[in-house]
Symmetry: C2
Subunit: 476 residues, 2 copies
C-alpha cells in the first residue's frame, strides 16, 4: 500500500515537470528545478523527486549532466504529422514480395552501401566484442557439448533466461513452453506451418514486415490486410469485421513496435485482440522481436499475457538486440508446442549449439540488461535525429511515424513519388532503403519508405539522408 501511494507521488511530480516541458515553460537545454527545490515545492521527499527524474530520464525527456543536475533534452518537435491510418484493400490477396526481398538483401550486402533498408542494427551499436568474447570463452570450455546436437527444445539455460525475462512482459512462461529457433525467421515459418494449410487466409497488419508476406507467398497462403494506426497498431474493429465475414486461419501481429510503423498496441487492445481471436479459435502469431527496445518507462506487455487458452504462438529473437549473425530466436507455441517441435526437426533439426550457450551466458551474467539500458536511449536518440533530418531536408508534404520503440521509421513521401524508382536512384548512389510496396500484399504504399535508424550517427549518415531528400525532390 505504502508502495502504491509512493508510486503515485513520484508520478505526480514527473507529470508536472512533463507539463512544464510540453507547455514550453521548460525548453531544450533548460535546467530542471534542483532535487532539493522540487522537494520543497511539491512537499515530497528528496527520494521521490529523484525517482520522478529517473522516470523522466527513462522517457527521454530530461538528461543528467554530471555534477550539474538534470536538463531538458532536445525534443523532436514533431514538425511533421504521422501518416493516416492505412486503408488496405479489403479483399483477400495472393502475395508476391519474394523478389523485392532478395533485391534488398543483395543491396545490403554490397560493399560501401549505406543501409537504411535492412532492419539489422549496425555492429557498432551492438555489444559486439563482449559477445564474441563470450562465445570464444564458451567454445573453449564447451568440450563435447559444443560439437553435439542441441536437439529441440534447445539449451535449457537459455530457455530459463528467456522465460524469466518474459515475466516482465506479463507472460507466465516456463522453460518447457519454449523452443529455441534459428532466429525469429524460423520461428515465424514454424508457427505459420503449424496452424495453416495451403490456400488458407491469414490476417496481417498493413503495412507489415515483408518477411511475413514472403512466407505467406511461399506457403501458398493468402493474405487479408488489416488497417494499422500509426500509434496504436492494428485496427481491431476492422479485424473483427473480417473475422465475422470470413474464415481466417491465423492472425500475425507485432503489438510491440510494429515493423515498419513502430506502433505500440495499448494493453486493452492486446486483451481485446487475444479475446476476439480466442473466441473464434483463430491462433494469434505474436512477434515480440522489438519488445525489449521500448523508449518508455516499462517493458510493454505481450498480448500473450492475456491468453488463457494457449491460443497465442509468441516468438522473439536476439537478432535486433544482440547479434543477427548468431541466429538465435525462440518460440512459445502454446497448444501447438508438439507440432512446432516436430516441424523444427525437419526444418533445421537443431539450432547451432555454441551461439545459444554464449547468449545464455550473456543473459545470465547481466550483460544483456546492462547493454539494453543504453541501447534503448541510443535508438530513441537516433530515431529522433533521423526524423529531424528528414523533416528539415525532405520536400513537403512529408509525414512520419513517431515510433514508441525499436529503430524503424515509416516515411510517407509526396503522393507522386514512386518509392521503387527512389530505390533505384538511391542504390545508384550506394544508399539502400526499403520501398513501401515491400510491406503490402498488393504492393501498395507506393509513396512510402521504411528507414532503419540503427546506424551510428555520423556526417556520412546525415549527408546520405539529405541526398535521399534531394532524390525525392527529383521524382516529384
Amino acid at each position: 500500500m505504502a508502495e502504491d501511494s509512493d508510486t503515485a507521488l513520484y508520478e505526480q511530480v514527473a507529470r508536472s515537470v512533463e507539463q512544464m516541458i510540453h507547455s514550453g515553460t521548460l525548453r531544450a537545454g533548460d535546467k530542471v528545478p534542483s532535487v532539493r527545490r522540487a522537494s520543497e515545492q511539491h512537499g515530497v521527499s528528496v527520494t521521490t523527486v529523484v525517482q520522478a527524474y529517473l522516470l523522466l530520464e527513462d522517457r527521454g525527456l530530461i538528461e543528467a549532466r554530471p555534477k550539474s543536475g538534470f536538463y531538458v533534452r532536445a525534443q523532436m518537435h514533431h514538425p511533421v504529422p504521422a501518416p493516416e491510418i492505412s486503408r488496405p484493400p479489403s479483399a483477400v490477396t495472393a502475395v508476391t514480395v519474394g523478389g523485392l526481398q532478395s533485391r534488398l538483401f543483395q543491396a545490403t550486402g554490397m560493399p560501401g552501401v549505406i543501409s537504411f533498408g535492412n532492419a539489422a542494427p549496425a555492429p557498432e551499436l551492438l555489444p559486439t566484442e563482449k559477445l564474441n568474447r563470450a562465445l570464444a570463452s564458451v567454445a573453449r570450455r564447451a568440450g563435447k557439448r559444443g560439437v553435439s546436437y542441441n536437439m529441440p527444445p534447445g539449451t535449457s539455460s537459455l530457455r530459463r533466461e528467456i522465460a524469466r525475462r518474459m515475466f516482465d512482459a506479463g507472460s507466465q512462461l516456463s522453460p518447457n513452453d519454449l523452443i529455441t529457433t534459428s532466429g525469429g525467421t524460423e520461428a515465424l515459418i514454424l508457427c505459420l506451418r503449424a496452424v495453416t494449410s495451403p490456400g488458407d487466409i491469414v490476417a496481417v497488419e498493413s503495412p507489415t514486415y515483408f518477411g511475413v508476406l514472403h512466407v505467406i507467398e511461399e506457403l501458398k497462403l493468402r493474405a487479408i490486410e488489416i488497417p494499422m494506426h500509426p500509434d496504436t497498431g492494428m485496427d481491431l474493429d476492422a479485424l473483427e469485421q473480417v473475422l465475422q465475414r470470413q474464415k481466417v486461419a491465423a492472425c500475425v501481429s507485432v503489438p510491440n513496435f510494429s515493423n515498419p510503423l513502430g506502433s505500440l498496441m495499448p494493453d486493452e487492445n492486446k486483451e481485446r485482440l487475444v479475446r476476439m481471436l480466442g473466441e473464434r479459435n483463430v491462433p494469434l502469431i505474436e512477434d515480440d522481436i522489438f519488445g525489449e527496445l521500448y523508449y518508455g518507462a516499462h517493458r510493454p506487455r505481450v498480448a500473450q499475457a492475456y491468453d488463457e487458452h494457449q491460443n497465442v504462438l509468441l516468438y522473439g529473437s536476439f537478432s535486433k538486440t544482440l547479434a543477427p549473425g548468431y541466429r538465435v530466436g525462440w518460440v512459445a507455441p502454446g497448444k501447438y508446442l508438439q507440432k512446432v517441435q516436430s516441424l523444427k526437426l525437419i526444418s533445421t533439426l537443431a539450432t547451432a549449439t555454441l551461439p545459444e550457450l554464449a547468449i545464455a551466458e550473456f543473459l545470465a551474467t547481466g550483460g544483456y540488461d546492462h547493454y539494453l539500458r543504453t541501447a534503448r536511449r541510443t535508438y530513441e536518440g537516433l530515431v529522433e535525429r533521423v526524423s529531424n533530418t528528414i523533416a528539415a531536408h525532405f520536400p513537403q508534404p512529408v509525414k512520419m511515424t513517431q515510433p514508441k520503440g525499436g529503430f524503424l521509421l515509416w516515411v510517407e513521401l509526396p503522393p507522386t513519388v514512386d518509392a521503387l524508382k527512389l530505390d533505384d536512384l538511391a542504390l545508384e548512389e550506394k544508399i539502400s532503403i526499403a520501398p513501401g510496396p515491400m510491406f503490402s500484399a498488393k504492393q501498395g504504399f507506393r509513396n512510402f519508405i521504411r528507414i532503419s535508424c540503427a546506424n551510428a550517427w555520423s556526417p556520412k549518415i546525415e549527408k546520405a539522408l539529405i541526398r535521399l531528400g534531394a532524390l525525392v525532390k527529383r521524382l516529384m
Copy 2:
C-alpha cells in the same frame, strides 16, 4: 601415359596380394612379403610396391607396423549374409514417421543412454577440441563480421573450400553454385520445397533415411518407394518402371553410403540415374552427407558429376564428419539456385556466421583432411567390430549389410521379431536403436534395425550389443 601404366602396375601388385588374402594364403596377422622381395618377385620398382601396399592399407586389408613391415589385418569374415534386395509396395503412399523420429531423438537426449539409434558420431570420434578452439579463435578475431548477418549464399571462403573438395568427387562446382545451409536437414527441405507442390509424388529409396519421409509427410507429398540393393543401392530398373508408369516430381537418393544400408552406387549406375531422370526432367535430390567417409581407396564420385543439365540438387554437410552442433551444411541446387536461395530467406534468413567461419578455416588449414584420414579407418574398424559382435551374439537367422563407407549398419532380425517392441525393451535398459519401420513410408521392415557404429569401442558398448542380442532372443 607413363603415369597411366605406373598406375596399372601398382594396382596389379595390389591385386595379387589381395588374392592371396582372399584365398587364405595370407591370413590375419601374417606378414606380407617385404617391399624388397615383392619388388623382385613382380619385377617392379620398390616405389611401385610401396604404392601398392599403401593402396591395400587404404582399403583396410593390411596395416603397417613400425620398423617391422606390413601385416594382414583382422578381416571380417562375413559370417552372416547381407539382407536381400528390398521389396517395398509399388503403390504410392502417404507417410507418417514424424512421431517415431521425435521418439528417437528424445531417447537419444536421455542421460546415460547408449545410443545406437541416432546417426550422430560420438564427440570422442570428432576433432572436438581442435574445432572448438578454431571457433574460439575466429570469434576473438571476427569483430563486426561475427555478429552480422551472413546472408545467403553464405561465407564465400567456405563455399570455395567446398567447391574445391567436391572436385575430387568429380564435380565441377564454382563457389557461386553453392548456398550454405543450417545443416543437411535444411538443405533437404529447401530442395524438396523448390521442386514439389503438395500432393506430388517423390521417389525415395527403400529403406531410406527417416528424415526424408518426415519432410515428405509434412509437405503433404506422397512417396513411392524404390527397392534397394544392399551393395549397389537403388534398383534402377525398378525406378525406370515407376517413371514410365507415373508422374514423379522428384527423386531423392543417397548414392554414396545410403542411410541405413551403407550401399555405394557404382559409377555407371550414377550415370544412368542422372540420364534417366534428366531425360524426363525429374530433378534428382542427391544427398552426399556420408561421401567423405569412404573405406575404399578413392573418394567416390557424386551422381551430380554426370549432370549436364543442372538437373541435380546436390547437398552435403559437416554434421557426420566434424560437428553436428555447428549446423553447417550446403547445397548446390543446379538450375533451382534462385528458388532455393529465396526459400532459404524465409526458412532461416541466414546461417550462423561464426560456426561457418570456423569450419572454413578448419578446412583451409588442412585440419579436415588430416582428421578424415583417421576417421575413415576408425569407422571402418568400428563397423567391423560391431558386425562381429552382432554375428557372434544375436540369435540366428541374422543378416547384415557390409557398408562401403559411413558408420551405419542395417540388421535383419529373425522374421518374428518386432523391432518396435525391441525398441521398447531396449530403451528400458537405456539402449537406443532405430527400428526398421522408421525407414519406410508404410512402416515396413518390422524385423529390421539400424545400428550406428559411431561410438568409441568399449566394454560398455560391447556389453550393450550383447544385451541387445539377448532381447532379440526374448522376442522370437
